[in-house]
Amino acid sequence: MSRRLYVARSRSVAARKLGDEMLIMSGRDSTLFTLDEVATILWEAADGWKPLEEIVEEKICKEFEVERGEALQDAVALVEGLAEHGILLLSSEPLSEPKLQGRIDR
């Protein structure tokens, strides 16, 4: 991968872990998705600050003993797919945690 990719969870979705899987309801069109164990690990680590390649190395390669290049390729395909559904945000720059837009000013 020629550039760093940063991923952040979209705040417009609803999400809950059920066993090893993550249930996600798209805020855009109420479509329900499930993420498998590996995708759930990526989702949970998607804080907007840590580059995807570091997440893959630290959370996937070590845990599942997979080759780094192959794991990263799969991870990029996955996060791009999720970004198309508005579930993840992607950027070449670090992403600050998006705030809920309807937040009450206190």
Binding site: R11, A14, A15, R16, L18, F33, T34, L100, Q101, G102
Partner: protein, 368 residues
């Protein structure tokens, strides 16, 4: 329900996870609907802090689908603070409201918080009928305006109608109105007894003819022939089936922290002010009893012809006195749908006290 949702519900059931919960934030209301089952006085609602703690406990327990209802939810001054917190905890939030306090600003705020859907009660297209049911002049206009504000924000609105004597003829026009507004439409043919057990409100039921008409309305039920077909014989799988999701993957919490299997099933199961939610969910003897019941265990219904296709509500049965017994309202629905009386209705007919009264009118030979 999508196949994925069915799969996830089965997984939640297997793991004992409450996938969905309803919290009534308040029983107070700015309408006084004639059919309402609630006591609108405030007997000590949960505070903002208590509700936030509860939301945290529900999220930890695995609740994804959260319905906020009432009473009228927007009466609470902290409503948006609670909603915002619920969304921070990534619940899929559905709202139930009469919407008369929703104007442009509130609709925008609801949209910004990515609420999944807003269900609004509309009982007639005619102001004189709707407003007479809510007992609030101008309420139909306010509710319809609110739906327009919500739709202008691109939100999913659901028009919820309740079939009763006063409005039984109006639902097709309400459905048309919903369509015009870009909202979904749902019709509930069941009047629920009051939570304190008072059944007088059931006198508002629309009656058999109205039910028959509803069940033969293709726009509501789809294939009428299929929907109204005679019941098929229950098999072994049916006898092992669960009555419904209440207490299994769904639960209800009152404004006072009382946990019930469902809003329509007021079986006291614990109180979150005294006991953490998850402890109630896992260890309540009341919930364990609910979970132990299979269709084959039902006292009357297990040998009823309608068993496999009946909409029997265990909560309504509980309010009639026995959670394993029949719910006469569902027996009436099965009869209106298929023309075949349930075991319960047949038993009631054979012991009709009216016949005894007729005998009592005969001259009594032994009178002094």
């Amino acid at each position: 329900m999508s196949s994925l949702m069915v799969e996830m519900s089965a997984k939640a059931l297997e793991r004992g996870v409450p996938l969905s919960a309803q919290i009534d934030l308040t029983y107070r209301c700015n309408e006084r609907c004639v059919h309402c089952y609630l006591d609108h006085d405030d007997h000590g609602e949960m505070t903002t802090g208590e509700l936030k703690k509860l939301l945290g406990e529900l999220a930890s327990a695995g609740v994804l689908f959260l319905t906020l209802s009432g009473g009228e939810i927007l009466i609470r001054q902290d409503f948006f603070e609670i909603l915002e917190y619920a969304r921070e905890l990534t619940f899929c939030v559905k709202l139930k409201t009469n919407a008369i306090l929703i104007r442009e600003a509130e609709a925008e705020r609801i949209r910004l918080l990515d609420v999944d859907s807003i269900q609004v009660s509309i009982y007639s297209h005619r102001p004189e009928v709707h407003d007479a049911i809510t007992k609030v002049p101008g309420s139909l206009k306010r509710s319809l305006d609110a739906i327009r504000f919500l739709k202008a924000q691109g939100l999913k609105a659901i028009v919820a109608d309740v079939l009763m004597r006063q409005n039984a003829e109006d639902y097709p026009k309400v459905r048309a109105l919903a369509e015009e507004l870009g909202a979904e439409f749902t019709l509930d043919p069941t009047i629920t007894p009051k939570m304190d057990g008072d059944r007088s409100v059931l006198g508002l039921n629309a009656g058999e003819i109205a039910l028959q008409n509803v069940f033969r309305d293709q726009a509501l039920v789809g294939n009428v022939e299929e929907f109204c077909a005679p019941p098929s014989k229950a098999d072994a799988d049916d006898l092992e089936a669960l009555p419904c999701s209440a207490g299994h993957t769904a639960c209800y919490i009152s404004p006072y922290g009382d946990v019930y299997p469902c809003v329509q099933f007021p079986l006291p199961s614990g109180n979150v002010r005294r006991t953490p939610f998850l402890e109630i969910w896992r260890h309540s003897e009341a919930l364990k009893e609910v979970r132990s019941i299979r269709l084959g265990d039902l006292t009357t219904c297990s040998h009823c012809v309608h068993l496999s296709g009946c909409t029997r509500c265990p909560g309504l049965a509980f309010m009639e006195g026995n959670m394993r017994g029949p719910s006469v309202q569902d027996c009436e629905k099965s009869f209106a749908r298929t023309g075949i009386a349930s075991v319960n209705l047949l038993a009631k007919k054979s012991s009709n006290p009216a016949l005894v009264q007729i005998q009592g009118l005969r001259p009594c030979a032994t009178a002094a």
